[in-house]
Amino acid sequence: MTAPRDKLGRPVVVVTGMGIMTSLGNGKADNWAKLVSGESGIRTITRFPVDGLKTTMAGTVDFVSVDPFSSTGLSERMAELVTQEALDQAGIGAKADFPGPLFLAVAPVEVEWPQRRELGRAVGKLDFNYDDLLRISGGGKYSAYHHRFMFGSVAAYLAETFGTKGSPISLSTACASGATSIQLGVEAIRRGETDAALCVATDGTVNPEALVRFSLLSALSTQNDPPQAASRPFSKNRDGFVMAEGAGALVLESHEAATARGAKILGVIAGCGELTDSFHRTRSSPDGKPIIGCMNKTLADAGMTPDQIDHINAHGTATPENDKMEYNTTSAVFGELVTKIPVTSNKSMVGHTISAAGAVEAIFSLLTLEHQRIPPTINYDTPDPTILFDVVGNKARDARVTAVMSNSFGFGGQNASLILTREPA
């Protein structure tokens, strides 16, 4: 049974290729095997000294080499690898000729400390100011750093490497970025502008200043020992999120185009929704209305009711505030069902991949649909008694899963949700 149009008369958007990388490993097979076995990718940071930091662990991707190293360079390399995996699976287009646009979720880019320090050393004086740095920056010696630290550089590289069409969009909606990249792709296909879109999200920003920034906002877990036990979504003793690196890529196509070329359909992006919270820069509105509205918009976009959702892939960062707010808002939307729908947080194992999280977790949701098995939320030993979710604690659970809601909430009042299904509704 195929339905090329959804209930609202729009083209159905399907997924035909996926690529993923997290601290657990490279690729879908490796990640899925470790995820369902409850393995953690969180470890003590070895990339740089951690002396003087309150948080000394993260979900770093250490098995990909980038030279010279930069967070943006790592983001780019991870994005390239996951895109290649997704394209290999989708078998779409030709080499370096993807037949659609690129939507890239990427962390904001800036000159990083190794390069700044190189500049500082090049001044050759003991006392200097920014003007001295400025004076030696030109002349071509550092021209590669201009390209490296342009916000559009990662997207430009991917667009040229994979031959995506048109102007690639680099976007940030903070921790919801990955979901936004998928939403932009879905919208472009629904509008009929393209038959295919490449949606990629990547984040390789575990560096000293990024850790310090989140530390100063008291957002990170400081349960450093053992690092694998730091990320504790929905637990009473959760104390913050764990920074992590990763990337995810999805090839989206209209159902019609995918079936016409005989592609294997991996799942359906049945609905997307977003709603801005104007309450505070880092906190959600206490009444939760924007998140509730976001979930409701997503259900409406999918033409579905709460009883049709049989699994929630939670944002579940393990900050005290997020998990409580997520439970309260989910309760408001799902009513009595909230205690019956199995909920899990992939972040318990891979940490919070920030800009990549929405895409990484959408891919895990699609793998959940494929395998009919829900990955666990590890470190769930002391449940928070005020959070009455049916958390899939510590061990993976076989379940009949037909529709998953995946949530992403970010600084700056960014809320985005996706509904993923196995078959067109």
Binding site: E110, R117, F151, S170, S172, L275, T276
Partner: protein
């Protein structure tokens, strides 16, 4: 190529609000008056040898009443939040909760104003021998202002606009230098034209008075040095002069605007964008020609507003493209406002809409012959935005018939 044009059956999209805070002044009248007088505001001393177009001071309180909000932002966010407020005022929807609760925001943003004292403090201490493994960590932990991060995050321009002006629709932030501004307009236009959205706030802001940005662009030798010259006269003295500006627009479906009695400045008929490979000479000009051909038919009184930066070889390529369309009088926003990066394209659309609504193109300001007088009222203005390194965008702004 991806593009958005008002196809048959798609709704017309009007520009019903414009907010400008620039180096020439605040608001439409001040900017228009400065353009008429060919007044340019450059600072050749403050960042010497680099030249910048500083923001004409504004009273932030009038759009950002809470001092606490102002303190949570760095300059680029304050400029943008201010200009966004002016755009909402201009559209007559400031404080209109029904509309603001559903408005869709697409913001083009850079980010990250550094704390220069912290940076130089670390670097000079290291030059003097501080080399303990945790030195950088400890200094950053003790010296960084906890909320500075929020003033650096790209999507917190949109976040601050939402908080200060009470916007509760959707919020997307596009990055990627100049073309991010074109893509913001392109996506917002296509969403309204297709009926996904009724009304959107789009735009960007930029603080050009930043030494950390000068360092970044100096890596590529892009900064204009020593002496100001109009963009078209920089061939042998290439570079851009960073400018400070916020430019926001309210885009709205014709039906939505008419239902609330809003008057249009102009209509936004099409926005197209692409990524030229720029590997050899002529690549960028060829992409501009392709974009030009994708715009709807131009048979009215046409003009071009260019965001050419003054950097080479992009500016020469663009000049070559413009020569092929010499019947269209050209104006350069780079000459008048400096290079405002992500903001340059929304600024170009704003000036196109303003020129159409005021029945005149602003006067030329160029001794090289690229800009010529236009004596008739323009009815179609093409906005051209070619990035200094990557990214090309084009928009067609037209008079509402």
């Amino acid at each position: 190529m991806t593009d958005t044009a008002s196809k048959s059956g798609q709704t017309e999209v009007w520009i019903t609000g414009i907010g400008l805070a620039t180096s020439l002044g605040e608001g439409l009248d001040a900017n228009w008056a400065a353009l008429q007088e060919k007044r340019i505001n450059v600072d050749e001393k403050g960042f010497a040898p680099y030249i910048v177009h500083p923001l004409m001071p504004v009273t932030f309180d009038s759009q950002i009443p809470k001092k606490g909000d102002q303190r949570q932002m760095e300059a680029w966010q304050r400029i943008g939040t201010y200009a966004a407020g002016l755009a909402l005022d201009s559209a007559g929807i400031k404080g209109n909760k029904d509309i603001l609760s559903k408005i869709d925001m697409v913001v083009a943003a850079g980010g990250g104003e550094r704390d220069l004292n912290v940076d130089t403090g670390v670097l000079t201490a290291e030059a003097k021998g501080a080399n303990a493994p945790g030195f950088l960590n400890e200094r950053l932990m003790s010296d960084l202002r906890p909320t500075l991060f929020l003033a650096q995050l790209s999507n917190l321009l949109a976040g601050n606009i939402a908080i200060v002006h009470g916007i509760g629709g959707t919020s997307r932030t596009f990055m990627g230098e100049e073309v991010a501004g074109a893509d913001a307009a392109r996506i917002a236009l296509s969403r309204i034209a297709s009926g996904e959205s009724d009304i959107a706030l789009i735009g960007g802001s930029h603080n050009g008075e930043r030494k950390d940005l000068l360092v970044l662009y100096e890596f590529g030798d892009f900064n204009l040095k020593d002496k100001f010259a109009p963009v078209w006269a920089r061939k042998d003295h290439a570079g851009f002069a960073l400018g400070s500006a916020g430019a926001f627009l309210v885009l709205e479906s014709k039906a939505h605007a008419e239902a609330r009695g809003a008057k249009p400045f102009a209509k936004l008929s099409s926005v197209v964008a692409d990524l030229a490979r720029r590997k050899s000479r002529g690549d960028m000009a060829a992409t501009l020609e392709k974009l030009w051909a994708k715009l709807p038919k131009r048979d009215g009184k046409g003009a071009i507003i260019s965001g050419a930066t003054g950097a080479e070889p992009a500016t020469s390529e663009e000049r070559g493209f413009l020569k092929g369309h010499a019947e269209f009088p050209v104006r350069s926003t780079g000459t008048m406002f400096g290079h405002t990066m992500e903001t340059q394209f929304p600024l170009g659309i704003a000036l196109a809409a303003l020129s159409i609504s005021r029945g005149a193109l602003f006067p030329p300001n160029d001794s090289m012959g690229t800009e010529i007088e236009m004596h008739e009222a323009p009815t179609q203005i093409v906005v051209v935005g070619a990035g200094h390194w990557r990214g090309e965008g084009m928009a067609l702004v037209e008079a509402v018939s």
